[in-house]
C-alpha cells in the first residue's frame, strides 16, 4: 500500500495528462454526438423523403460498422482523398458520428413514446409541425431520453480508449506506455481504474440531476 502511494507520485503526472485528453475528447465528442443525435432523430419525423432516407442511412451505417474501422477510415484513408484532419479532431468527429447514431435512436424512441393525444391536441390548436415538436413533444420526450443518454455518455468515456489507434495519448494508452517503460502493472492499472471511475461518476450524477430538473412540472402519474 505504501509502495502504491509512493509510486503514484511518479506515475500520476503522465497518467493525468492522458486523463485530461480522455476527458476533453469525451466532452467534445459528446457535444458532436448530441447534435447528430437530434438532427438525425428529428429528421425521421415529417421531413422530406430525401432527408429521412439520409438520416436512416447515416444511422444504419454508423451503428452497423465497428468504431475502430470508422476511426481507421477517417484517420488513415481520408488523407488519400485530400482530407487530413489532426488526430484529436478526427477522433472527436469519429466518436461523435458513431455515438450520434446510437443517440438518434434514443431520440426517436423517446419522441415515439410521447402520447398520441399530445399530437392531436396540438393539431386541434392549429400548431405547425415544427412548433409542435419544439414546444410540446420534445420537452416531454427529454425526460425519457436522459437515462439512455447517461448510458451512452459513460460508454463514450470508455470508447475514447480506441483513440490510441490514431496516435492520441489517452488515459489507457498512457497507462500502456508507462507499463512498457516501468513494468509496474499493479500500481498503474489500479490508478487508471480509479481515475476512470472519478471521471465517470460525476457524469452519472450530472445526468441524474438533469432527470430531476426535467421532472418538475410533470404530472404525478408520470413521475417515477
Amino acid at each position: 500500500m505504501a509502495r502504491l502511494v509512493a509510486d503514484s507520485g511518479q506515475l500520476l503526472p503522465f497518467l493525468l495528462q492522458g486523463a485530461r485528453v480522455t476527458l476533453l475528447a469525451t466532452l467534445l465528442a459528446a457535444w458532436v454526438a448530441l447534435v447528430f443525435a437530434f438532427a438525425a432523430g428529428l429528421a425521421r419525423f415529417g421531413a422530406p423523403r430525401v432527408v429521412r432516407t439520409l438520416a436512416t442511412a447515416y444511422v444504419e451505417i454508423f451503428r452497423g460498422t465497428s468504431l475502430i474501422i470508422q476511426l481507421f477510415y477517417l484517420f488513415f484513408v481520408l488523407p488519400f482523398f485530400g482530407v487530413s484532419l489532426p488526430p484529436l479532431a478526427t477522433g472527436v468527429i469519429g466518436l461523435g458520428l458513431n455515438f450520434g447514431a446510437y443517440g438518434s435512436e434514443v431520440v426517436r424512441g423517446a419522441i415515439n413514446a410521447v402520447p398520441q393525444g399530445q399530437w392531436e391536441a396540438a393539431l386541434a390548436l392549429n400548431m405547425t409541425h415544427a412548433s409542435t415538436m419544439r414546444r410540446i413533444i420534445v420537452p416531454q420526450a427529454i425526460l425519457a431520453m436522459l437515462p439512455p443518454f447517461g448510458n451512452l455518455l459513460v460508454e463514450l468515456l470508455k470508447a475514447t480508449s480506441l483513440l490510441s489507434l490514431i496516435q492520441i495519448t489517452d488515459l489507457a494508452f498512457a497507462g500502456t506506455m508507462l507499463f512498457q517503460s516501468t513494468g509496474k502493472s499493479i500500481e498503474i492499472y489500479s490508478l487508471i481504474l480509479l481515475i476512470y471511475f472519478a471521471m465517470a461518476f460525476p457524469m452519472t450524477i450530472l445526468v441524474r440531476r438533469l432527470e430531476r430538473r426535467f421532472t418538475f412540472g410533470v404530472s404525478l402519474s408520470r413521475r417515477r
Binding site: G46, P79, S84, F179, Q180
Partner: protein, 296 residues
C-alpha cells in the same frame, strides 16, 4: 410543415457549410513541396514511434528518447538541428500512418522485410538483431537453439503472438503443445521468471533492455545460441532501419549519406553501445544496403 422543411434545410446547410469549412482548412498542404523540403524549411520532423525500448520510447516526462532518436539526430546533423515531434501509436498503425502522411519517418526499429519494401522505402540499417533465448540462470535445461527445444518435450517456450518466432518454432518441429503464447515482450520475461515457461524467445535488441530492467533476477540470455535459419537458408538476421514514404526518396538519400558517415566514424557503434546494443549488433561497412535486403 413548411417551417419544418426550412429548419431541416437550415440544419443541412449549416452542417454542409461546417464540413466544407473544415475540409478547406484541412487541405492546406501545398503539393509543390516535398516532405524533405518542408522539413529543411520548418526544422521540424514528425516521428512515428511505437514506444519500443530501446529504439524510441517516451521517458517519464513525455520526451521521445532512445537509440533511434540519437541516430536520427546524428545522421541529420550535417543538415542542421531539427525538432522531433513524436507521433506515438501502436506498431500496427505505423505503416498506415506513414502512408497517410501523418508523420514523415518511422523511427521505431522496424525491421526491413521484403513485403514491407513494397509499400515503403527503408533507410540503410542502423542496428541488427537476431533471435535469442532467455532462460533461468545457469540454463538448467541446456537449451541453445530451437532444435534443443524440439528435442525435449518438457520445455515450454514463450513467444509473442504473430511474431517470426512462430515460424521458427514450426520449422524446428516444436509441437504447439509446448508453446506459451503471450501478448507483449514483458510477459515473456515474466513467464520465465515465474516459471510458467522455461524459455522466452524474442529478438535480442528487445530482450537486452528488458533483462536489464528485470535486474538480473535469476534469468539470463542463453549463451551460446544458434541463430535460426531464415527463408534463404542463412542465419536470420533482422535489420532495423528508418522508414520513409516512396515519395520521399530525397529524405531517404539525405539520411543514408549521414548514416554512412556515422558507420565509417564508429559514432554509430558508440550510440548503440549507449543504449545497450553490443558491437555485433551494429552495422559496419560490410552490412548490406536496404535495397539488397529488400530483394530478400
Amino acid at each position: 410543415m413548411a417551417s419544418m422543411h426550412r429548419r431541416t434545410l437550415l440544419k443541412g446547410a449549416f452542417s454542409t457549410g461546417m464540413g466544407l469549412a473544415i475540409t478547406a482548412a484541412a487541405s492546406h498542404e501545398s503539393d509543390a513541396e516535398t516532405n524533405w523540403q518542408r522539413i529543411r524549411r520548418t526544422k521540424q520532423i514528425r516521428v512515428g514511434s511505437a514506444n519500443q525500448v530501446p529504439y524510441t520510447f517516451l521517458d517519464s516526462r513525455g520526451t521521445l528518447v532512445g537509440q533511434g532518436i540519437d541516430v536520427l539526430n546524428a545522421a541529420l546533423a550535417p543538415y542542421g538541428t531539427f525538432k522531433l515531434v513524436p507521433a506515438v501509436g501502436e506498431f500496427g498503425s505505423m505503416i498506415p500512418g506513414l502512408l497517410a502522411n501523418r508523420f514523415e519517418v518511422i523511427d521505431t526499429g522496424i525491421f526491413i522485410r521484403p513485403a514491407r519494401c513494397q509499400q515503403i522505402l527503408f533507410g540503410n540499417p542502423d542496428s541488427l538483431s537476431h533471435d535469442a533465448f532467455v532462460v533461468k540462470r545457469g540454463n538448467p535445461l541446456n537449451v541453445h537453439s530451437y532444435a534443443d527445444v524440439a528435442k525435449n518435450p518438457k520445455v515450454r517456450i514463450a513467444i509473442n503472438r504473430g511474431g517470426v518466432e512462430e515460424g521458427y518454432a514450426k520449422s524446428a518441429g516444436i509441437p504447439e503443445s509446448q508453446w506459451v503464447i503471450l501478448p507483449t515482450d514483458q510477459d515473456l520475461i515474466a513467464a520465465v521468471q515465474s516459471g510458467r515457461a522455461d524459455v522466452a524467445a524474442d529478438t535480442e535488441t528487445i530482450l537486452i533492455p528488458l533483462l536489464k530492467k528485470a535486474g538480473g533476477t535469476g534469468i539470463e540470455l542463453a549463451q551460446p545460441f544458434t541463430v535460426p535459419l531464415g527463408t534463404n537458408g542463412k542465419p536470420a538476421i533482422d535489420y532495423g532501419a528508418m522508414a520513409f514514404r516512396k515519395q520521399d526518396a530525397d529524405f531517404k538519400k539525405a539520411y543514408d549519406v549521414g548514416l554512412g558517415k556515422l558507420v565509417a566514424s564508429a559514432q554509430l557503434k558508440s550510440i548503440n553501445a549507449k543504449w545497450g546494443l553490443p558491437a555485433d549488433l551494429t552495422p559496419d561497412a560490410s552490412t548490406p544496403t536496404a535495397e539488397t535486403i529488400c530483394m530478400g
